[in-house]
């Protein structure tokens, strides 16, 4: 508990913070009330675009990006496998980069452009990576698949952008797309069904088409 004097100070600080955040609307309005009783949820507004659509949500600061997208926007393509950054099922592409959406807070993504599996393509209008996964049987149960496909798309971009990997032999040269490179770069996406070799086939085909 804060003394009343501390609380005054903190309120003033909050006001200063609020004006500094005129653009960033995620400054929690109930911030210090919650500091008095730590079990109370603290709500905060945040806006971002998901698959090209603008959204504003008023959420508990504890909400991960994954939960915001699944539970608040009802886009359930991205999956929660482990919730600890260990499986890749929750992979989304944020401002062009793949991340684990379970290990980041929604409030930290104000103004960001987020792409989930739903945004890559849809039935009848599949992304080339989605089509290649279908063609090569890049899944069995399908639980890891949205994450695998988002990761797969980003991996090919990373290689094109010249980002090296653990298996790149010459650090000063640009990596080329090989099975070893794909395997290493996809290691953050676990598949309990073991569809790995078909996933590599799908990615190799898309990479070949892109080249």
């Amino acid at each position: 508990m804060y003394g009343s004097e501390d609380l005054e100070l903190n309120r003033r600080h909050l006001m200063a913070g609020a004006s500094a955040c005129a653009v960033a609307t995620a400054c929690p309005s109930t911030a210090w009330a919650a500091a008095e009783n730590k079990s109370d949820p603290v709500m905060s507004k945040v806006s971002f675009t998901v698959n090209g659509m603008a959204h504003e949500v008023d959420i508990d600061t504890r909400t991960t990006l994954l939960d915001a997208v699944r539970e608040h926007l009802h886009l359930t393509g991205a999956k929660k496998g482990c919730d600890h950054g260990q499986c890749g099922a929750c992979t989304m592409i944020v401002d062009g980069r793949r991340i684990n959406s379970c290990l980041t807070l929604a409030v930290m993504h104000h103004g960001d452009a987020i792409t989930t599996i739903e945004g890559l393509g849809k039935p009848g209008d599949l992304h080339p990576m989605q089509a290649a996964f279908v063609k090569h049987d890049g899944y069995q149960c399908g639980f890891c698949t949205p994450g695998q496909i988002c990761s797969g798309v980003a991996v090919l971009d990373e290689i094109k952008a010249g980002i090296p990997s653990h298996v790149t032999v010459d650090l000063t040269a640009n990596a080329v797309i090989t099975t070893d490179e794909i395997r290493e770069r996809m290691s953050g996406n676990i598949c309990r069904c073991g569809a790995y070799s078909n996933i590599i086939d799908a990615m190799t085909e898309v990479a070949g088409r892109q080249a």
Partner: protein, 316 residues
């Protein structure tokens, strides 16, 4: 997860001041370690100061021919920077051997240095752990200690610093630059940045409360074979059992730091002087005073063999 208030910092000193002002406040950068621990209530901050908006995400040359790496530079960007790949290969290699592509896209330079141990008991709030709850005891001593320290530990804690990047930073003689709430800056040599546990394993670095890391600087590049050899349970996406960061010359001289064996990247200049005599003698010296457990004594031999491989690669 315990609830917390959230704020976006707009300047480094203001970020430091916010963390000083609110009891139980913490910085958050990539969030990949802090949020993981918050979900388990190993970490329970009352207030998060998001530093991602700070202008600390560039890599710039320094006057003495080195590099200044902003605290917010992502692990992917640091590993991929051409100056780093050409002049500091050991650093690129160490970064690329860590975590996954998704995690490296988020993880920051400062957050990586400050990542906490992977001791299984530290993660399990039902077990005693001096690091998590000072004075409660250490479950790892006499428990499962396969991954833990063989050297530099104490009766209170045998956890390791689990990261890869810091091991390369140690061999490169990096410096950590910081700012506090009053705007004072200082430079901490990486050798003094991580602390040995002694009787206070909860204190892991020489940072003061509220002190914000702004950058890590590297001296000018050192020639030689840059290598990062990481030995782990699977070929990718796993923490090191042991790792060796080295800059080694053809005559077998050089520098090495070892990861996964101690509470901090383990480097000993006296052991380095023995490198030309071979891996066995150098490793014996490096591990002088080591107190391995039954479960992790294998790390001594594993380090010697990995170092042997590094030295023969350099001579080839």
């Amino acid at each position: 997860m315990k609830s917390f208030t959230y704020e976006r910092a707009t300047s480094p000193a203001e970020a430091a001041a916010s963390v000083m002002r609110v009891p139980g406040a913490k910085f958050i950068a990539g969030g990949t370690n802090l949020l993981d621990l918050m979900k388990l209530q190993v970490e329970t901050p009352t207030h998060l100061v998001d530093v991602n908006g700070l202008d600390l995400d560039t890599i710039e040359p320094t006057e003495d021919g080195g590099l200044r790496i902003g605290a917010l530079v992502r692990n992917t960007d640091l590993a991929a920077d051409l100056r780093v790949r050409r002049g500091y290969g050991v650093l690129s290699r160490a970064l690329l051997s860590g975590a996954s592509g998704q995690l490296r896209n988020k993880a920051t330079t400062a957050g990586n240095l400050l990542q906490r141990t992977r001791c299984p008991y530290f993660y399990d709030t039902a077990q005693p752990c001096n690091k998590r709850q000072p004075g409660s005891g250490c479950s790892a001593i006499g428990g499962i200690s396969r991954q833990l320290s063989v050297v530099g530990a104490s009766e209170a804690c045998i956890a390791t610093h689990p990261g890869d990047m810091a091991v390369a930073m140690r061999v490169l003689d990096a410096n950590v630059e910081t700012v506090n709430d009053k705007g004072d800056t200082r430079r901490i040599p990486i050798a003094e940045f991580h602390r040995l546990p002694g009787g206070t394993p909860q204190i892991e670095t020489s940072l003061q409360p509220g002190e914000l890391i702004t950058a890590v600087t590297l001296p000018k590049p050192v020639a030689g074979m840059h290598v990062y050899r990481k030995v782990r349970d699977r070929a990718s996406y796993a923490f090191a059992l042991i790792s060796i960061a080295g800059i080694v010359q053809r005559d077998g001289t050089g520098r090495i730091a070892v990861g996964g064996v101690a509470p901090k990247p383990w480097r000993d200049e006296a052991a380095e002087a023995e490198l030309p005599k071979g891996a066995k003698i150098a490793t014996e010296r490096l591990f002088a005073g080591a107190k391995p457990t039954h479960d992790n004594a294998y790390k001594l031999k594993l380090t010697e063999r990995a170092l042997g491989a590094v030295l023969s690669e350099a001579r080839a």
